[in-house]
């Protein structure tokens, strides 16, 4: 894998510096312990070492052991897997087979899945393309975050920039960690809308109903419509060229209506119409022909989250952890708040490892801390909030348990008393 234009050895020494200086090992360990000492050592943590050597089924007794190994082996990627019945690294000694017991519910959204809905902002280096098209990711994050909280009742969500062109979400509630594979599949299917693509061309997609399912109508109202009007039609210009108009109209099943609209929108008389004008016309005609579902489908096709569902479905599936440094971009995989996702600009908020080094050197020279360090600290703060939130809930639950026990004892005491 290409490193950031450095000789391979240099990236390794940068990583060593980063792991010892910046990697939030304590929070990382506190998070994955969930207030239970026996939890962290049973967690699979896999490394990709420089030279793309992939090591699975590692595990670590505690934070120190992990940190020392990070410094020594400088993995270019740290993957987090499931919590097993035994420590994965001891699987050979124990003689029992590894059984995955728990893992956070994870969601993976990648910009790669959005290429067909890019217009004016499509060209250029893949990383730049992602940065410029971030609005799609921001919309997806908002929709998924809301659904996970309101519909499924989850409360402890960590959103992390994946370092290149996507985001991950870790749902860490106890209820989420103990979900069966079946339930995980159910959640990601619930969150997905089947999209028309080359693979299924011509087949009727009946995910979109009229009226819409409440979770879809909420997404439409809160995110899809504004995103479509502001970003898809204006910034992307998805109604500007005949080819793009044709693409958008291709989802209309009625060929006569499709041709008629195509003629209308590509003729000279509509030359001065804005993208919004053109869309209003499409919507109007679709609704007139009882094709409300098609209008909704088009809206969703351009704006609704596209999840990489296979990452979520399996308890044992690994996912890159937060605060890795992406070896291709040099960016730190920073957590961010879902509500701030729209303002999150990867190039700025995810500091580059070289800029971090430069920044620290400047501080050593007596200058004030610069932006890269500030943004990293901000991300660590987001992470901290998440970890503390989990610990608080755990403490409350423990307290409740104790109370329940006490009142049980009271009751028994009373019974004994009455019996006497």
């Amino acid at each position: 894998m290409a490193t950031t234009g450095n000789p391979a050895g240099e990236f390794e020494s940068q990583l060593r510096w980063y792991y010892s200086k910046h990697f939030p090992i304590d929070l990382f360990h506190r998070w994955l312990s969930y207030g239970d000492e026996s939890y962290f050592p049973r967690r699979e943590i896999s490394f990709t070492l420089p030279g793309d050597v992939y090591l699975r089924f590692r595990s670590f007794a505690n934070a120190d052991e992990l940190l020392e190994t990070l410094k020594k082996q400088t993995p270019i990627k740290i993957d987090i897997g499931a919590v097993y019945n035994i420590s994965p690294k001891e699987r050979a000694n124990v003689g029992a087979s590894l059984v995955p017991l728990e893992k956070e519910l994870v969601i993976d959204i990648d910009m790669t899945d959005y290429y067909d809905v890019m217009g004016d902002l499509k060209e250029g280096d893949p990383v730049d393309v992602c940065d410029r098209n971030w609005q799609y990711i921001a919309g997806a994050v908002q929709i998924v975050d809301t659904a996970l909280r309101e519909d499924f009742g989850f409360r402890h969500l960590l959103w992390v920039y994946s370092g290149r062109r996507g985001v991950h979400c870790w749902v860490a509630d106890q209820g989420a960690r103990s979900l069966s594979n079946e339930a995980r599949s159910a959640i990601v299917s619930y969150l997905s809308v089947k999209m028309v693509s080359e693979d299924n061309a011509g087949r009727r997609i009946d995910d979109i109903t009229n009226p819409l399912h409440p979770s879809l109508s909420r997404a439409k109202r809160e995110v899809c419509e504004p995103l479509f009007n502001e970003f898809v039609l204006k910034d992307q210009g998805m109604m500007t060229t005949p080819q793009r108009i044709k693409q958008m109209l291709s989802f209309i099943p009625n060929p006569a209506l499709r041709e008629q609209l195509l003629d209308r929108l590509t003729s000279t008389s509509s030359k001065n119409w804005s993208g919004t004008d053109k869309w209003e016309r499409v919507k109007h005609d679709l609704i007139k022909h009882s094709e409300t579902k098609t209008a909704d489908y088009i809206l969703f096709h351009y704006t609704y989250p596209r999840l990489d569902v296979n990452v979520s479905r399996d308890l044992g599936h690994l996912l890159k952890g937060p605060f890795c440094v992406h070896p291709g971009t040099g960016r730190v995989c920073v957590p961010f708040r879902a509500e701030e996702c729209e303002q999150f600009m990867p190039a700025k908020y995810a500091p580059h490892i070289e800029n971090l080094i430069e920044d620290v050197n400047n501080v050593v020279k007596g200058q004030k801390e610069g932006e890269p360090s500030q943004y990293l600290n901000k991300a660590i703060k987001v992470f901290q909030e998440f970890v503390v939130g989990l610990e608080k809930e755990k403490a409350i639950a423990e307290e409740k348990k104790t109370h329940a026990k006490l009142s049980d004892m009271d009751r028994n005491g009373a019974r004994d008393f009455l019996a006497v």
Binding site: E150, D151, F152, G153, F154, G175, L179, S180, E182, A183, S185, A186, I187, S189, Y190, D206, D207, T209, P211, L212, H213, P214, S215, L216, S217
Partner: protein, 470 residues
Amino acid sequence: MEVLRSRNVDVGLSSRGYASVYRQFNFPGVDQDREELLTACLDRLTALKEIEEKLGKDARTEEVLEAARAAELKHSLGVPSKGDGRLDQIFKDESTHFLLRVSLAKTNEQRDFFLKTEANLLASRLGQAGSEAVLSVLKDFPDMSIEVVQRSEMVEFQVDLDAVARGPRRSPVSAGTVYYKVAFNLVPYHVAARRVLVRSGYAYVPENYLIDILVSQFRSSLSKSLADISKTSSFMARHQSFGPLLAEIQNHFYAIASEGHVKTSRFARGDLKRAELRSGDVPAGMPLCMANLMNKLKDSHHLKHGGRMQLGLFLKSCGLTMEESLSFWRDEFQKGSVASDRFDKQYAYSIRHTYGKEGRRKELSCYGCMKIINTTPGPGEHHGCPYKEFSEPRLKQSLSAIGVPAAEVAPIVSLAKENHYQLACGRTFMATNQTDPSEGAIVVTNPAEYFDRARTLRKEGATTAMDVDS
């Protein structure tokens, strides 16, 4: 004799006796007549096979349930709602379910089969019992929170509930239907398809979906139980006398092919049966390339990929069903160092794949001679065409071993030497089967055809011989 623990649960489904199935994981009794028990088990197995057949055809849910009902009736598995025979029938129902469960827990294929067919049988039964009965059973479950949605909440969510109820492929919800609030993971399939309203971790399900909760609970507890059984042998340790009965169920699992099961595939033309391969002998009439692979498999209990493909597809074309193929390969590999679970992980996939059950779901048929001749086996591999690959002494020896008369060996070897492999093979065919010499030379193009013709000739020969005898 262990106590029949189901009685108190049975109260829930007062009109039927199936509730016990969910919790009854101990064998209710050991004093039954074995013959009777075996017959009952095989009846149930046959019924399940019939359900499976319907499932394999991508039938709609209602059709599958209808088939389950029909199968249950046909093999008299049902429990009457009253009458003298009721207890006996409940007993039989539980015993057969349990014994099949223990017997069919060993491999993935069998577990899948049992899981999906039993779940559909149950769904069909519950459909007849009605939602009230279902609800009373559900309430009896520990850790199962099922609440009636309160009027105030119904008002709050009225619009949303209506929106959900009106989508496609929904069962119609009549006005005034009672809704229940259940943990969303109790109805995973409805959540996945957005067929229910989901709020704060609860799914709001109309009354007529309650059956699905029970069925999906049943599925997951059965799945867990099957996994547990597959890992332990405690039942067998306690009830050793059941060994023969369970083995008999195993035999029948592959033997009972529901109608049309074997012959529907255009790729299976032969009538080879798993049983003919059981002793490890090479069935008479196999072409040399396949006989060679069979012998190598018998010796080393393993074949490399090329060999597995060449022999596996051949056996498939000769008539082995997928289940028979899996059982054949598993047994052979197990004699070597490949344990059953490793087999399931590493090899079963590619066998299912050849039957079009995995990957791009395209059935494969037997390799033709050209393909076999054109492959070059590496060291330790035994596929390819023996007439091309074998050294002269080895070819001579192999030919004698499969019964080529001494006088015929030399001409066959010389044909092979001149690169006329298919003619050489044809000459072998003529020398080992009593063919009509006036037919002239035979060019073999496909090993499965070779075998099919050889078997036909042998059968005809056998019939003729019998005719003469009588």
